[in-house]
């Protein structure tokens, strides 16, 4: 009776649940979009699903923001820092879905990229990023700092790899239109990874250093 009267204390848990759903949806958009460019999936088959998932991501972002405002208004002792972190991280999670959409748009335009010699490396990178997106969700829930550091190191390696490949393609004058596709793909995949990394760095750095792991003095971690 008493428990019923008081209700479940789900304030932040509900927000975290919605955030996890955003990450899950972002990964889904990323995978499905990459498959249209690299795996030959017919864009028409996934278009509606991607559109709906992207809309859900946007709705979740807005819902989380509203819930955060309510949480901070209602609670006299609201976890202000945590709320502000979420306010920033939902943007990263939303951007992952956005880049996935950009990849899908490219997949619609460049149906002939499937089987390109450059696609082998891109598929490997894409699979790696997709696995890391799944890992990110679990990591965010467990808040393990040790695993977060390993994640960030791994993410840095992928970012470097994407940068190197873009530089190589830009310098290679012998190539035609397809390098543009590959360069953009590397660019988008890199951004997806970078946003995922931003989310994970929130486990490691204080609020003011969100997105700036390299600049962190380490004292406050």
């Amino acid at each position: 009776m008493l428990e019923w009267l008081l209700g479940d204390d789900v304030g932040m848990a509900r927000i975290q649940q919605h955030f996890s759903q955003m990450i899950e949806d972002g990964r889904h958009v990323f995978d499905a979009a990459c498959n249209t460019v690299l795996g030959g999936t017919d864009p028409g088959v996934v278009r509606e699903d991607l559109h709906k998932t992207d809309q859900r991501i946007n709705r979740l972002e807005q819902q989380i923001r509203r819930e955060l405002v309510v949480h901070m208004t209602v609670r006299e002792k609201a976890e202000i820092g945590t709320c502000l972190k979420f306010m920033s991280l939902v943007k990263d999670a939303e951007r992952i879905g956005d880049y996935g959409k950009n990849i899908f748009d490219m997949g619609q335009e460049c149906r002939d990229f499937v089987g390109d010699p450059m696609s082998a490396d891109l598929i490997a990178v894409k699979d790696h990023v997709s696995r890391m997106l799944a890992k990110m969700r679990n990591l965010f829930e467990s808040q393990s700092t040790e695993q977060a550091r390993r994640f960030v190191d791994e993410a840095h390696a992928i970012l470097r790899h994407c940068d190197e490949r873009v530089s190589e393609l830009v310098r290679d004058a012998s190539l035609s239109r397809r390098p543009v596709v590959a360069a953009l793909l590397y660019r988008y995949v890199k951004r997806v990874m970078a946003h995922a990394m931003n989310i994970v760095t929130s486990i490691l750095v204080p609020l003011d250093k969100l997105d700036y792991l390299d600049e962190d003095d380490g004292d406050r971690v």
């Binding site: 008493l2 009267l5 008081l6 209700g7 479940d8 204390d9 789900v10 304030g11 932040m12 848990a13 509900r14 975290q16 923001r65 509203r66 819930e67 405002v69 309510v70 949480h71 208004t73 209602v74 609670r75 006299e76 002792k77 609201a78 976890e79 945590t82 972190k85 979420f86 965010f140 829930e141 467990s142 808040q143 929130s202 486990i203």
Partner: protein, 380 residues
């Protein structure tokens, strides 16, 4: 950021302990009403009447209600005092009705002051001020329609008396049954009066001491009840607010009633809406019914206070408070054209306040201070 590790839930004290404390505070509140009742009786008709001398005019009564509530920053304290006065027979029901209406207006100053917090950010302030003043405008509209109607027909008073008599009769089963609450409250107030009497206080001094003690006790109990209930029910309140965002209508009214009854303060409910509107997550159209719910919910304090008052007059004035707010809601909510009056007026007022900050200062000082003082001076 794990949910399991979320701090700040505010439940460091066991809920069972808080609930027990709540019952003690509720008892303290009722004893305070009993003490006030006793104080007024001791003062006698001559002196107690003196407190309200000149308040025979309904407009003066309205002004007194506004000013008293602004001064104590709590309509619950004002309405409880009015219930005690009516219960002790020192204030006529007819004169108390406009005071109750005034208390309804006066209580809106709190959330209006809350909205001033965002005065430097014009967009936020416009939304916040509109959210706060929609409560004011609704109350002005209700008073503008219902006070003349009440003066002409006495419909609030007659309905409340009829209801109170029936409820009183029902409670006593038509016999001489003494409610256990009243017995317990009487025992408490008698004990305290006995202690003060034992200190050598008597007559007017004893009455004054009882009155001061009663007011202090009402303040303390209501404040602690509000604080405790807010901590106890924070999860429910948060869930309800999340549920009601973007919704309008009966659910929003129900949420407004439920939160206000739970925390025993309409100011808490309406003040929660101000930052939500300022941030733009709650639209004025959705905040309005929650405000109406808060207006209805706050009447439960006077009803609770009437449990400690003698006879049925205390209950009757508490029911006037309830009927007034229900009537206002029925007038200015279901019909879209009438519903738009408070909403549009509040929006317009907010735009004016943003354009010229003098409007804000003039509004606050005129409505809540100068006009009530002028009303008392002119109509007494």
């Amino acid at each position: 950021m794990s949910a399991a590790g979320s701090p700040g839930t505010g439940r460091t004290v066991h809920p069972g302990v808080r609930l027990t404390l709540l019952l003690v505070l509720l008892y303290g509140f009722l004893v305070a009403i009993g003490l006030m009742d006793g104080a007024f009786k001791l003062l006698g008709e001559e002196h107690a009447g003196g407190l309200f001398q000149g308040v025979t005019n309904p407009f003066a009564g309205l002004a007194v209600g506004i000013l008293a509530t602004v001064l104590v920053q709590s309509s619950s304290v004002t309405t409880s005092t009015i219930v005690a006065l009516c219960g002790s027979g020192q204030l006529q029901l007819e004169l108390a009705v406009p005071m109750i209406m005034g208390a309804n207006i006066g209580t809106t100053v709190t959330n209006t002051l809350v909205s001033v917090g965002s005065v430097r950010r014009s967009v936020e302030f416009r939304r916040a001020f509109a959210c706060a003043t929609v409560h004011d405008v609704f109350n002005f509209c209700s008073v503008a329609v219902l006070l003349p109607l009440e003066l002409a027909t006495g419909y609030l008073r007659h309905t409340a008396v009829w209801l109170a008599d029936h409820l009183h009769h029902l409670g006593s089963g038509g016999g001489t049954f003494n409610s256990p609450i009243k017995v317990a409250v009487k025992a408490g107030s008698k004990a305290i009066t006995g202690v003060l009497g034992g200190l050598g206080l008597e007559g007017g001094y004893l009455a004054a001491a009882l009155l001061v003690l009663a007011i202090a006790l009402i303040f303390a109990c209501l404040m602690l009840i509000t604080k405790n209930m807010r901590v106890l029910l924070v999860a429910r309140i948060e869930a309800a607010m999340n549920e009601v965002l973007g919704r309008s209508g009966l659910l929003a009214i129900a949420v407004g009633i439920a939160i206000t009854v739970a925390v025993q303060s309409s100011s808490i409910t309406t003040s929660l809406l101000v930052p939500l509107c300022a941030a733009g997550v709650l639209r004025l159209e959705n905040a309005y019914p929650i405000t109406l719910g808060a207006n209805i919910g706050t009447t439960v304090t006077a009803i609770l206070a009437s449990l400690a008052a003698e006879g049925s007059t205390g209950l009757a004035i508490a029911l006037v408070h309830l009927l007034f707010n229900v009537s206002g809601t029925l007038l200015f909510f279901p019909i879209p054209a009438l519903r738009r009056i408070p909403i549009r007026s509040a929006r317009r007022l907010a735009v004016l306040a943003v354009e010229n900050k003098f409007v804000l200062v003039a509004y606050l000082s005129a409505i809540f201070v100068l006009l009530p003082i002028l009303g008392i001076l002119v109509f007494r």
